[in-house]
Every structure is written in C-alpha cells, then in structure tokens.
C-alpha cells in the first residue's frame, strides 16, 4: 500500500465531554456589579422560581477554549481542503464576509429598531435583492426564507396561492426521480400529492413522459437545473411550455445555480418561481449544518403572493418594510430572514463583480469536467451526457470486488480529502457525486484524481484496505446501526446511570 501524498497524521488530542470537566465552583463568567437594588428572586417568582440547573457544566475559560479548539481539529472544513460534496457546493468562505457581518452596526441591529436607524441594513437587503434579480432574471424576490428547503416551502405556497386566486389550487406536484428529498417533503406540507417524473436515458426529464403526465390537476413541476447529475435540461423551454400550456407553473430548485451565474438566467427560460441557496452559490459558510438562507425569486404575476414584509422604496429614496400585501401567503419566519447571511452574500457579489461571477462559474464547470475526464474509465460513468459543475460516477466496477461507494468515500478520508456525496441521486445506484467548485487549484485537483485512481487500484488488489477504512482518523468506522437501534441522545452523569 503506497502512502497517500496528501494526508499525514498529526497531534490530535483526546477530549472528553464538557460535562466531564465540570466541578462545583469553577467559573468562566463574571458579571459587573449590579447598579440597581438586588431583588429576592424567590419572592418575585414564587412558585415558578427555579433553584437547580441540573447538570449544566461549571468550567473555566481556558478549559472552554481548549475543549472547543480540540473539537475543531476533529473536523474537516473547506479551510482544510477539497470538499467535493456534490449538490452541497462547498466553496471558499471569504474572511471579509465574516468581518463585515460582525460590524457592530449590523450585528447589533435590532429588527424592531426605528426605521430611521435601519436604513443601512435595508440598503444591504435591497442591494442584494437587486443583484439576485439580475443574476436570476426574475422580477421580484423575498429574502425571508432561512434555508433552501424553507425557500421551497415559500415558493410552493406561492404557487398554490396563485392558482387558488385563479379558482383552483390543483392537486399534484411533479418531481423528477433525481430530485432532492426536500422537494417531495415540501410539496406534501403544502397539501400536494407528489407524482414522480421519470428521467430518460440521458438523465434528463423525459419530455414525452411529461407531456403525457401533465394535466389540469398538476400545479407545478419542481425541477433542479442543472439537475443532480450536473446535467442541464436542454429542453427547458419545452418543459416550461408544456407546464404553461395546461396552466401549471415551473418551479426551479436553485441548488445548482453555481453552474449558471453569469452564463444564463432562469428567468430567461421561463421559470416562474425559484429559490436560491446563498450558502451554496454565494459563499455564506455552511457552519457544520447551517445557518443557510434561501431567497425566493418569482415572475411579476406571482409578486403579490410573496411573504410579508417586503422591502419597499419610498418616493424620497428611503426604504421601509411593506406589510400591506393582502394576497401574501403570510409570514414564513419571524423578522426578515437570516440577515447576517444577506450581508455575507452581498460581500461575495461585490468581491467578484460581473467578470468574477462569470469566471467563477466557468472555473467550477472546468474543474468538474477535468475530474470527469481524468476519472472516466477508472470509475463507471452511468450517464454519458455532458455535465456542468458536478459529475456523477457509480461504483459498478468496484462493487464487483465488494467495494461500495461508501467504502471508497471512507478510504478517501485517508488520502486527505472529504468524501463526495454517496447517497445521491437516487437514479444512480452506488453514486459518487463529485462537485469540486471553482475554489480548487489544478494542483489540488490532481492530488484528488491521483487519490481516486489509487483507491481504484486498491479495489483491484487489496479491497480489504478500503473496507476497513478510514485508518487515519481519531475514530474508526462508527456503528451507525447501533446508534439508531438504541439511541443515546444526551449525556447523563455516571452516578445516575448506575442508579437507573
């Protein structure tokens, strides 16, 4: 077994749970002297007073710093290296974004502060909205949804409200079999029956099948474009026409917008409503699982149904929130959305400008195609259709040796990379979905390709090395079955456990 070129082990300290460091009397806090008379809490609160905070920890500041610093070293992030999780779009998170989002006047702004004091924040929301409308080619937008799936919910509620206003909300939403699981879950919450739409041999929507399936019961088609194979729906205009001819709407899941910015605009190919994932396309950090932000853009005829409030410009140029929207679907979140993410996304757009945004898209597509070319033949390519920002291989060749996509992923960790997406799209059994993004240099891509080739060789010669991977991490493969069978979802002090 030849050693991987990228990864080596390094000092990586053991660390228990924060609760296990706790001891009565330790403290990391200090409050200033109280400048008003102290109160007798028990007297004020009476029966609702609390005296015991259970097993909350008591620790010092240095212990907290060491604890979370050590935990951080157990994580792989974009800062650590290539993170080719397909459809998740893990790109570089610029430091300037973090700095400006923490500026005192923005981070400390209260959502109910007087409008006069909110002009700067509103200007940021307006500037971002304007940029996103130009990038998508749509007419109106809300920044309120807190994540992509939340944007889907908002968008489908708008579709429903629009159709309802015409007299019939309709019954079904069509969703391609390659779609993200959030699409069907969203349609269900909005009261729709989900109907699957089969992909054709090219991995695209089967336009003939769509034509046959489309009828007056269908409210909308939820389409990801480019889809989860990284394939652009070439016949997108026909798809839109089929929907529109029977009074349905075209919803686009903007998860893969990173492949389109500056090159084409969904609004131009007749999309009615779409969401964007600011954390995917506009480099707001994913934070180990959020926060995200999922603005929803729509065509003019859907504008009255946007959630309230929306930012409105007064004749004098000042900005305010408009709550007077009788057709609105209502509110989808308290306040105005994840404003901190709006700040970061705008900072990203300003750092790129029109040239940079286009170049970013081109580099993302170039990187994915480079990987595709270099690994074709080494791994099975189930769909030969040209792809854009991501490429999906299958484990067919390696599975013949008993090595599955999940195993290859774990072995990739030993080579110093975060694995690709293993569980997606559902139409490719044993998928290896790779999305390098524009943030990777040729050198990093070559190292990744070399690692993938080396693993393919191992699958031939010594598959057990892969099946036992990862070998270099602080914990080896975890028993996820046991975790689900007997869930342990919180820590309990050993004493009590013994008493139980």
């Amino acid at each position: 077994m030849s050693g991987p070129r990228k990864a080596t082990t390094h000092v990586n300290q053991n660390e228990g749970l924060i609760f296990e460091k706790s001891s009565p009397g330790k403290a990391a806090w200090k409050l200033p002297p109280l400048d008003v008379p102290a109160v007798d809490a028990e007297k004020i609160l009476g029966a609702v007073a609390r005296s015991d905070l259970g097993n909350m920890p008591e620790v010092s500041e240095i212990e907290i710093i060491r604890h979370f610093t050590r935990l951080s070293t157990w994580n792989y992030g974009v800062d650590t290296g290539l993170y080719p999780l397909g459809s998740c779009t893990m790109k570089y998170n610029a430091r300037v974004n973090e700095v400006v989002a923490r500026l005192r006047g923005l981070a400390e702004a209260h959502p109910y502060q007087p409008q006069r004091l909110s002009q700067g924040a509103l200007q940021i929301m307006k500037a971002l909205a304007d940029c996103l409308l130009e990038i998508t080619g749509m007419d109106a937008i809300t920044l309120q949804p807190a994540a992509g799936a939340h944007g889907e919910l908002t968008g489908i509620l708008m579709v429903r409200a629009f159709l309802e206003a015409q007299g019939n909300p309709r019954k079904k939403v069509l969703i391609p079999d390659s779609a993200h699981g959030t699409n069907p879950a969203t349609a269900a919450i909005c009261g729709y029956v989900v109907e699957n739409l089969k992909s054709n041999a090219a991995g695209r929507v089967d336009v003939g099948a769509l034509e046959r399936q489309m009828n007056e019961d269908v409210a909308a088609l939820m389409l990801t474009n480019p889809n989860t194979l990284g394939v652009f729906e070439e016949e997108i205009h026909k798809i839109a026409d089929i929907l529109h001819a029977k009074g349905g709407l075209l919803y686009v899941d903007g998860a893969n917008l990173n492949a389109l910015v500056g090159k084409t605009r969904p609004g131009d190919f007749n999309v009615d409503v779409m969401h964007l994932n600011l954390h995917k396309t506009f480099s707001t950090p994913h934070g180990g699982g959020g926060p995200g932000s999922g603005p929803v853009a729509c065509k003019r005829r859907l504008e009255p149904f946007l959630p309230l409030p929306v930012v409105m410009e007064n004749p004098d140029g000042s900005l305010e929130f408009d709550y007077d929207r009788p057709k609105s679907i209502g509110r989808v979140r308290a306040f105005y959305g994840n404003f901190g993410m709006h700040v970061r996304a705008l900072a990203y757009i300003l750092a790129n400008g029109p040239d940079g945004l286009r170049q970013t898209t081109e580099d993302a597509v170039l990187n994915a195609n480079y990987i595709r070319k270099k690994l074709e033949g080494v791994y099975e390519l189930p769909y030969k259709t040209p792809t854009m920002h991501e490429v999906v291989f299958s484990d067919k060749k390696q599975a013949a040796k008993g090595v599955k996509t999940g195993d290859i992923a774990k072995r990739l960790i030993d080579y110093g990379f975060h694995p690709y997406t293993t569980s997606f799209p559902l139409i490719v059994p044993g998928a290896l979905m790779i999305e390098p993004t524009e943030s990777e240099s040729k050198e990093e891509l070559d190292l990744f390709i070399e690692a993938m080739r080396a693993i393919a060789e191992e699958a031939e010669r010594e598959p057990q090395v892969i099946l036992d991977a990862p070998h270099t991490t602080r914990v080896s493969r975890l028993d996820e079955v046991q975790a689900a069978r007997k869930p342990v979802l919180r820590w309990r002090p050993p004493m009590r456990e013994a008493a139980d």
Binding site: R50, L53, G77, G105, G288, P291, V332, A351, L366
Partner: protein, 441 residues
C-alpha cells in the same frame, strides 16, 4: 480574481486535457438563445478595503450607540468573547452537515453537548440539533403534535409572539389544521377558562409561551393539566431562553419550542438565530430535525454520528416528519459555548441581574405611567401604558440616544398606548433613569 486559484495557463492546460477548444464548449448544453451574451449588471468588482468601507458606512447609521429597551423576541445580552474566537475557527464554520462522522466528530460532539444542555434547561428528555428559529419551531411542534395525537386542531394563546403565530398560520394553512386563538386575563396570563372551553376532542395541542410576549410567566403546570385532561399535548414556547436560569423549566410540557438567540447570538437585524425542539423520549420518532447520537467505533471508542435519519426528508421524501434540511448548527455551537461559559451558577446569576434591572425599571416607570399585568410574576419584560402615544415618546427618547419600548398597538390595539419594555443585564441604571425622565406623566 482573488478567490480563484487558477492561472490562465492552468485553465488552458485543463481545457486541452478535456479536449475542449474553449470554455464555451463546456456550456454547449445551454441553448444559444438562453446564453447570456453580456455582463451581469451588478456593481463592479471591489477591493477588500472598499467592501469593508461599504458595509461600515451602512452600519454607521444604526442604533449601535443607543441604549435600547427593545426585546419582543430578540434580546441583547452580553456575548463572551470566547464565543466568536471559537466559532470563527475555520474547521467549524467551513464544514458541512456531518454526514461523514469520522471527520466531523467536532461538530457532532458539540451538538451532542448542545442536546444535553437543552434537555437540562427545559426539563425535556430529548432535544434536536436545532431548527431555523423559534418562529418556525412552533408550527413544526404543532404538526408534530398532530402526528402524535392524530388530531388536527390547535389552541394558541394570543400571548405567544405575534410573528410566531403568523408563521404558524402560514405553515398549517394546507394541513387542515384549525387554529383557535385564546385571549389573556387581567394578569397578562392566558385565560385558562377560555383555553378549557376551546380545547376539544379534535385539539392536538395547546400552545403557550412562557415568559409570554408581555414578559409574564405562565402557569405551565396548570395549563398542562387542562390540555391533558382532554388528550391534547402542551407545547411551550420559550422565546427568551435566559429566563430558564431562574424560572422553573416547563417540564410538564410535551414539546418545547425554543429560540436560543439569547445564548450568545447577536440580534443581527433578526437572524440568523437558533430554534430548538425538545420533547419526551417516547415522541422522538415524530420529532423533525437532525439528532446526534453516541455510538462506538470498531475499537470500542466513544464517537458520535447523526441518527434516526429515517424521519428525515432525504430518506423518507414526502413521508418525512418535516422538510427541514439545513438547520442552524453553527449558531447552536455558539449557544453551547455561551452555556459552557455561564453554566450551572452563572446562568442563575445572569437571570437574577435581568430580573433586578427590569424590576427597577418597572418600579421607576410606575411613578409616571401605568404598568399592566401586575397579578402574575414576570421576567425581564413588562407592558407600560402611557398618557401619550408611545411612538411620540419614542421619538423624544431617540433624541437622547435611547430606543424606547416596542409599541403594541399594531398587534394589541385593545391595549391603547401600551408598549413592551425590556431590560437585560446590559441596561444601565442611568439609561433607565433618563428614559423615565422623558415620560410625560
């Protein structure tokens, strides 16, 4: 381009390897008529120094240098510096959802600690790895109650944050869930007799907030009894989590829907915040959102992984408990660090300071105006009724660099010239005195 690590010659070499003549070959799938042949009309590329300046200018005209009595669901508590120092570590904030457990133990363990702390604070048995925010946690709790009980109606107190109630209405409008609102009594608590009357055999849950929107602490135990008697679940909303340092946990609730913003998260003009759902163990499979569980690796070492994901949309698709995917992991991490700093004793003392500041402010304001809802205990918010329109008062306060209370007319017209005032530990006595001086008796 500062963020792009390829030279023109790298690009050329890569195109050659691919066998493409130009980059446009790679976009040939896009029909020509839809290809953008012009520059996007967005601002020109800016230098880092210009970007910082742009946002500094926009941040300059805000309320940062004002004393603020605003609360109403967003609370300004002191944020210990270690939170930013640690949450800014790239391995935390540039990571994705921990699907690959072996290289995400940092995120996973911190979430496990978060789940544990939320359980300790709320008196619940399990907590999830966070929701978008408190307002969206409420409809998720209501829909969860509907799944558990097989019933499709909810009774919600009008003292629940008005915007939370609006979000609830938006979410459940196509779930066939009937929502009945119930008013409040003289003491600012939900009208218990009215709740008793409103709960029927169709009621999945009673939803109340404590401390409620007026800052009043509800009688959770009594309300649980009312709901449970008719087979409904009790959902308790906690919008001000710091209250849990000194107020009895809502242990009689079946589901707690919480906003954790108070734990070290800046007001940020309304987000990102951190919602949480917590519940009893027997309901865990009906709870939406991610969960982290403890397990063992091949060598028997302790480790953590995402678990019970068969509830989630990526597995169950349209039959999932919710469509939530991305949550608020980084914000949950900030809350976990905040809770580690204050801990068992600090949280109590912090809450005590909040209580004292608000008690002093209410006492002083009472000399010039009417403080409503005296008959029940409250935490750090209270309703003041003034002679003059609160908007007028607030205009005068603004001249003194004070942001006054939140006028309630918009949501509670029946209360007249009332506004909601909040004092956290950050409020200085001199600001309280200055505000009181400006009130016209």
């Amino acid at each position: 381009m500062r963020y792009l690590p390829k030279s023109p010659s790298d690009r050329e070499a890569m195109l050659r390897e691919i066998g493409a003549r130009s980059i446009d070959d790679l976009f040939s799938q896009i029909p020509t008529e839809y290809r953008l042949s012009r520059d996007l009309k967005v601002p020109r590329q800016m230098a880092e120094s210009e970007i910082v300046e742009y946002f500094r200018e926009r941040g300059a005209g805000t309320a940062a240098d004002h004393a603020s009595f605003l609360g109403a669901g967003v609370y300004e508590h002191y944020r210990p510096l270690v939170i930013e120092a640690l949450a800014s570590r790239g391995e935390f904030f540039t990571a994705y959802t921990p699907y690959q457990a072996e290289i995400a133990q940092g995120t996973l363990q911190s979430i496990f600690e978060f789940q544990t702390m939320i359980c300790e604070l709320t008196g619940m048995e399990v907590a999830n790895a966070s929701m978008y925010d408190g307002s969206t946690a409420v409809p998720e709790a209501a829909m969860m109650a509907a799944r558990i009980t097989g019933r499709h109606a909810a009774v919600v107190a009008r003292t629940v944050h008005p915007e939370y109630r609006e979000v609830l209405a938006t979410y459940v409008q196509h779930e066939g869930m009937k929502v009945t609102e119930v008013g409040y009594g003289e003491n600012g608590r939900v009208d218990m007799a009215a709740v008793d009357k409103a709960v029927t055999e169709q009621t999945a849950c009673v939803i109340l907030q404590s401390p409620n929107f007026f800052g009043t602490i509800e009688d959770v135990a009594a309300m649980a009894e009312v709901g449970h008697r008719k087979g409904a679940l009790l959902v308790v909303v906690v919008a001000e989590a710091v209250s849990l340092g000194i107020v009895r946990p809502p242990a009689e609730a079946d589901i707690v829907a919480m906003e954790a913003q108070s734990f070290g998260v800046p007001p940020g003009f309304g987000g990102p915040f951190c919602g949480v759902l917590a519940t009893r163990e027997k309901y865990v499979r009906q709870m939406p959102g991610r969960l982290v569980g403890e397990t063992r690796d091949r060598h028997g070492r302790r480790g953590f992984c995402l678990t019970l994901s068969t509830r989630e949309q990526h597995i169950r698709r349209e039959k999932a408990t919710s469509n939530i995917c991305t949550n608020q992991a980084l914000v949950a991490l900030m809350a976990t660090i905040f809770l580690s700093v204050y801990g068992r004793e600090g949280l109590k003392e912090l809450a005590r300071h909040n209580l004292a500041k608000a008690a002093y402010a209410a006492g002083e304001l009472r000399k010039k105006a009417k403080v409503l809802f005296d008959g029940a205990p409250r935490f750090h918010e209270f309703v003041v009724q003034t002679q003059e329109d609160p908007h007028e008062l607030n205009r005068r306060l603004l001249e003194k660099k004070i942001v006054g209370g939140f006028p309630l007319k918009k949501f509670y017209p029946e209360l007249g010239n009332a506004s909601l005032w909040c004092c956290t530990e950050q409020m200085k006595r001199e600001s309280i005195d200055a505000a009181v001086a400006a009130v016209r008796a």
